[in-house]
């Protein structure tokens, strides 16, 4: 117990109209941006502060944000871009939506600071199409407020600094969350990832140097600048500075978004914050960071802390912080089939292993669930997943492979039982026995 909540991205949440400029400014919002406009902060200072904070990309890959910013060519003339990735599509993840809804100004200020640090004067916030009803208008209203307050635009407050921020609404493709597919989509093309190199820092939006950061990463920046890198780094354990937004879903008493310090023990998150497993049932497994991460069985996750290093050592990853909780009544075969269907449907189709392999995985799993599976299929499942992993242009191939590998690794018996028993789930057997 005793975890402090809502320290960074949700710091306005307790106030009325937490999304308004007034509320944000009451919480010392735009303090850093005004400092920059007054000429009191250099890009180098900002980048070194963000580096020191230990902030890592919250979009899933966990790449150090400050380091990413330092890749942008510094002394090159010409347009540079900052792009915020609000195409929050990872299954289980729904916290960026709440930043857009409840604290949009933290993102706007974060983007302004980041753009200034990298010499970008134009930024786009790429928001997923499904957010059209509430998050998009809320964010747009905040941008308008900021413009009207003279915080954005050309030669802002006669500082000589230009910063224009535009909203772009996607059309609802998971793959557009991959940063280069996002750029393609932003350029008006089909959302298909580009092969790298060249990386966006050298050849990004419209061929110009571009950095793409996740919503939560950018929204964390004002707090880092306000309260210092040391404070932020100290919130979490080594290698995992700051707070995380956990989207906790599944068999849980109190599902929701929680902003908590990095490194919280999973069992505290489960029991103290989220009220325990639904109906007091037993925990079976957790996917700790969105459906692309490897699943961890209860006995492993219960010993884990929720941070980058601990989850990696446990055999999974922090991902997006989307914690999917599954209790003892869950049939792991059916869950995997549902996950496999998602990756089949969301594959962009351009490169061979993913286009062909994701459908193959789904069809085999469907056969198994429908009672037409064979024991040999289980080996082929792992083999096919292995042949997708690491062979594709973007990480969607890996994301499709890892659940298959980990589900079969940890729950092989459930799969084996099903193929031997014509599609009957071991979970159903247990339920009948209990009845």
């Amino acid at each position: 117990m005793g975890y402090e909540q809502n320290l960074v991205c949700f710091n306005t949440l307790d106030s009325k109209e937490s999304w308004s400029l007034a509320t944000y400014e009451q919480h010392d919002g735009y303090e850093t941006w005004r400092k920059i406009l007054a000429g009191k902060l250099t890009p180098e200072q900002i980048i070194s502060e963000v580096k020191a904070s230990g902030l890592r990309g919250r979009g899933g890959a966990g790449f150090p944000t400050g380091l990413k910013w330092s890749f942008m060519p510094r002394d090159v003339a010409g347009q540079k871009y900052l792009v915020c990735n609000s195409d929050e599509s990872e299954p289980g993840t729904c916290h960026d939506r709440d930043i857009l809804r409840y604290n949009p100004h933290s993102l706007i200020e974060g983007m302004a600071i980041a753009a200034y640090a990298m010499g970008a004067t134009i930024a786009y916030n790429y928001i997923r199409g499904e957010f059209l009803d509430e998050p998009v208008p809320r964010f747009d209203a905040a941008v308008k407020e900021a413009y009207e307050a003279g915080l954005l635009g050309k030669n802002i407050q006669r500082s000589g600094i230009d910063f224009d921020l535009h909203t772009f609404v996607g059309a609802g493709a998971y793959i557009c969350g991959e940063e280069t597919a996002l750029l393609e989509s932003l350029e008006g093309k089909q959302g298909r990832p580009r092969f790298k190199p060249p990386f966006p820092a050298h050849f990004g939006l419209y061929g110009k140097p571009t950095t793409i950061n996740n919503t939560q990463s950018l929204a964390s920046v004002p707090a880092i600048m306000r309260q210092g890198a040391a404070w932020f780094a100290g919130l979490g354990p080594d290698g995992s500075g700051g707070t995380a937004l956990f989207s906790v879903s599944g068999h849980i008493e109190k599902p929701g978004n929680y902003e908590l310090p990095m490194g919280i023990a999973f069992k505290d998150l489960l029991n103290d914050i989220c009220g325990g497993v639904l109906g007091g049932r037993r925990l079976k497994a957790v996917i700790p960071g969105g459906s692309s991460c490897k699943v961890l069985p209860a006995e492993i996750i219960m010993e884990c802390t929720m941070d980058y290093n601990a989850l990696q050592e446990a055999g999974s990853s922090f991902g997006t912080g989307a914690v999917i909780v599954m209790d003892e009544t869950t049939c792991m075969v059916r869950v995997l089939r549902r996950i496999a269907r998602f990756y089949m449907a969301e594959s962009c189709g351009q490169c061979t292993p993913c286009r062909e392999g994701t459908g193959w995985l789904y069809r085999m799993l469907t056969r198994i669930v429908e009672g037409r599976g064979e024991e040999a299929d289980l080996q082929i499942l792992v083999d096919v997943a292995g042949k997708i992993e690491g062979h594709t242009i973007c990480a969607l191939g890996d994301a499709a492979a890892w659940p298959v590998q980990s589900f079969l690794d940890h729950f092989y018996d459930e799969f084996a039982y099903m193929v031997r028993n014509d599609g009957r789930s071991i979970v159903d057997v247990a339920a009948e026995a209990a009845a």
């Binding site: 493709a173 793959i175 089909q190 092969f195 190199p197 089949m344 449907a345 969301e346 594959s347 962009c348 189709g349 351009q350 490169c351 061979t352 292993p353 993913c354 286009r355 062909e356 392999g357 994701t358 459908g359 193959w360 069809r363 085999m364 056969r367 082929i380 042949k387 690491g390 062979h391 594709t392 242009i393």
Partner: protein
Amino acid sequence: MTATNDDIVNIEIDGKLVEARKGQMIIEVTDSIGVYVPRFCYHEKLSIAANCRMCLVEVEKSPKPMPACATPVVEGMKLFTKSPHAIAAQKATMEFLLINHPLDCPICDQGGECELQDLAMGFGRDISRYNDRKRVIKDQNIGPLVSTDMTRCIHCTRCVRFGEEIQGNPQLGMTGRGEYAKITTYVEQNIDHELSANIIDLCPVGALNNKPYRYSARAWEMEQRATISPHDCVGTNLYAHVLRGTVKRIVPRENESINETWISDRDRFSYEAIYNPDRLLSARIKENGKWRDIGWEDALSEAADVLRAATSEKIGFIASPAATVEESHLLARLAWHLQTANIDHRLGRRDISDQDNDPLYETLGCGIDELENQGAILVAGSNIRAEAPIIAHRLRKASLRGGAISFANAEKYEYLFDVADYLSGAGLVKMLAGIAVAAAGGESLPDSVEALCAGVEADDAQRRIAASLQDADDALVLLGNIAGRHAAYAAVRALGAAIAQLTRAKFGNITEGPNAAGASLAGVLPHRERGGKARDDAGKGVAEMLDSSLDVVVLVNVEPDADIHATTDAVAKLAQQKYVVALTPFVSDALLEVADLLLPIGTFAENSGTYINVAGTWQSFSGVANPVGESRPCWKVLRVLGNLIDAEGFDYVTSADVIEDFKSRLGDFDHSIAYQAAGKFAKPGTADAPGDEIDIALYSVDALVRRATALQLTLSAQRAKAGDIA
């Protein structure tokens, strides 16, 4: 290589030390040293897609296999193309490619020459592990040239990139996502471009195939024989695929300096005309207005009799610029023997008033492959995409490299690149005079065009064009076929040359037919002998011959209703002549009307000989197909005719003997004969009225193309029939 040390990196491929240029992709280096890495999406003429994942290789210190096509080499890189890790990755890709492929090789035209089939032999499993339902894609009709079996598609997107990058108008694209991604036209439509069928060769599988050829032969039972395209001045290199003496299809023969790996659709599909029902299968003679077949012996002695009986100055030879150098040489020698100078190949040239100043033969002014390096090009009087598709493609490349490509032509045609300026709507002389005035910039104009430019003021576009030619290091002024057929060609040419002179640009022509250069050099001209030597007494050109009443006119591969533009009413005028002998592969109503004797000659496919292209390149070829009917190669017919009229030295055995004889008689000829402006040209008046231009549609340029069934079904041919040539 002139690379400095900084540009060189040392890498190791399969244990072998190799030097490579910095920034080269792995696959370029492996290809250059003969190490084969399997690939589908990679093509050296197209951008990198890296989507097939077949070329994955192992790179030291990289946990993942890397695509050789998209991974640049760096100093010290160690890579393995055949390590267990690399082979496993390649085999994995092959397994994925095959799961949804129909494996219908026995009924697929691509079978036997299929990249997927070949690589499956090396990297595929004997038995598929995939037991689920395969994907099926509904086929689309994309026109008369390319057949589609899209279920076979492996999504390499070569065809898509070809449309975007080479054609310049993307007509195919990949729609849908994941397993449902498919290659399709965005809306149901035909592909429509003069180079469109190259996607047949690009497609590594049997998804896009040759429609007219469909199901008519197997790759392994045909012979591949080299030949040269007879349709334009480019001299595109081709292979004919021949089954028991019959041409089944035509494919590109790579020649980087001419056609790269591309051929135009008419080069590919004109072969259909070889077997058109219009072919003249035996010699025919008209007696009392009725035609009857006769044997070769009778036909040739009839022709010889007619020629012998005629008065020398009343004999005329009108030859196609598609006649080979050998045939042109024999014709010129026949004419010499018969003591007539009435001989010409310039079927389209209306204005020969300044012919004494013609160059030795017309050329492009630079190599075909140098076109793309020009900083500025002015193309005047041309529908270049129809006249020479390969040259149009090079112009597009020049534009993509930043060259300023401008056009001056009364009619406005569509170009699939950024045209710097397009002057249109006025007569060519008028438009060029403006550019010449701009190029002079107030200084004095060459004498030849002074009168043409008197009182002319340049507009902004004309000034921009002049400036672009002036500013570029390499610039070119090019006159097209429409200019060549202009009623005031002398004035057009004087202006073109003046612009080139004033802007220090090169000056060149797009010529008609595949061998205008060879015909000129051989002396198939009324005013010049072999090697460009002026005749003492000039004979008659095409128009003059038809306007006179001659005893005999010999037509060589000429269809008077469609090929002659030097004068109007060619058919009626020919019908007035006393006797017309036509050497022709085809019968037509017009020929039946005007001719008295028809001698069947072979098409390019049944002939051997030499063409000199517009860059001055000599290219010899052998016959690739068996003669159709009683037809014989034209040069043989001319040779026997020479024997029969007792012309000396006509004892050639092969066409190679003819070309050797030509070369030795040519000896040291005067290479320096170039266009020299002489005299002053007056303003041409109505001869320069817009609307007077003669343009020939893409699929009407010659007798073969006009009879190629599939080409005549294309949208382009249909538009032309409806009166819209562009």
